[in-house]
Amino acid sequence: MIKPFIVALGLGTVAFAGPVQADTILPEYEAQARAADPSFSGFSAERGQAFYLKDHATGKAETPSCTTCHMGNPTQAGRTRAGKTIAPMALSQTPDRFQDVKKVEKWFRRNCKSVLGRECSPQEKGDFITFMKTQ
């Protein structure tokens, strides 16, 4: 009797933990984007894609673009400059991406500074995630 109960509990936790957090991060960036620019009209996967593929080269010389470490095709695994594998950015391949707000903010802060030499705007972050959701 105990075993089925534990299994049911486990399934319940998985089903519950997933979607709740995934949907909190984009509305948060949307609110920030709207506060920064009242004419903001929603995130764009196309803008996100262009941003992802662009050769920014305004940050550190070693990291001119997102694709220095992530792959041009975000469904493929990337690689850090030190040789470590990075799980694909595409949500279809790595479904637990963009769920943990602290983690997402930490990596946007670091990587935007490395690649662009500044922090990213809420719109850039939202576009980026919107693009990865389509991949």
Binding site: K60, T80, R81, G83, K113, S114
Partner: protein, 157 residues
């Protein structure tokens, strides 16, 4: 019960002898979960015994430009990682360790791969072409050749 105890004793003894006999290139693995996660995202979390305290201090002071990338941390995490690295640094105990051979007191090495001992050991055994193998990519990638590097085991050469 008696025979179990005997077997256990024999196994313990064997492993102790084994450890003593092969204790050449072994380092205490990183035990701290925060350090493992924060130092191990982009590269392997290197064992702190491989650099002196002053090096870890300088590295932790400069995370905004960490070998060409921003690796900054929030203040609480930074202090936690800094404490672990300096508490377990090469010069934290009574034994400086061979990694410190040839490092002068007034020098603050910033890369393990530039320590005289590291350079000498790898020059002896690694052909130059091996470094440009795409599977290696960087000298920072210990595990490309030392498969158990994360567990502090570097004797597999």
């Amino acid at each position: 019960m008696g025979s179990y105890k005997k077997i256990f004793f024999a196994l313990t003894l064997t492993s102790l002898i084994g450890t003593a006999a092969h204790a050449d290139e072994r380092y205490r693995p990183v035990q701290d979960e925060v350090v493992k996660k924060e130092c191990g995202s982009c590269h392997m979390a290197f064992q702190p015994q491989m650099l002196p305290k002053r090096s870890w201090q300088k590295i932790m002071d400069g995370l905004e430009n960490h070998f060409g990338e921003d690796a900054s941390l929030d203040e609480a995490t930074l202090q936690h990682v800094r404490a672990y690295l300096t508490d377990n640094a090469a010069d934290s105990g009574w034994f400086g360790g061979k990694m410190m051979r040839g490092v002068r007191d007034n020098e603050t090495p910033m890369r393990i791969t530039e320590l005289p001992y590291w350079v000498r050991e790898h020059k002896k055994e690694v052909p130059v072409w091996a470094w440009s193998d795409p599977k290696v990519k960087s000298k920072t990638n210990c595990q490309a050749c030392h498969r158990d590097a994360e567990r502090g085991y570097y004797d597999d050469d």
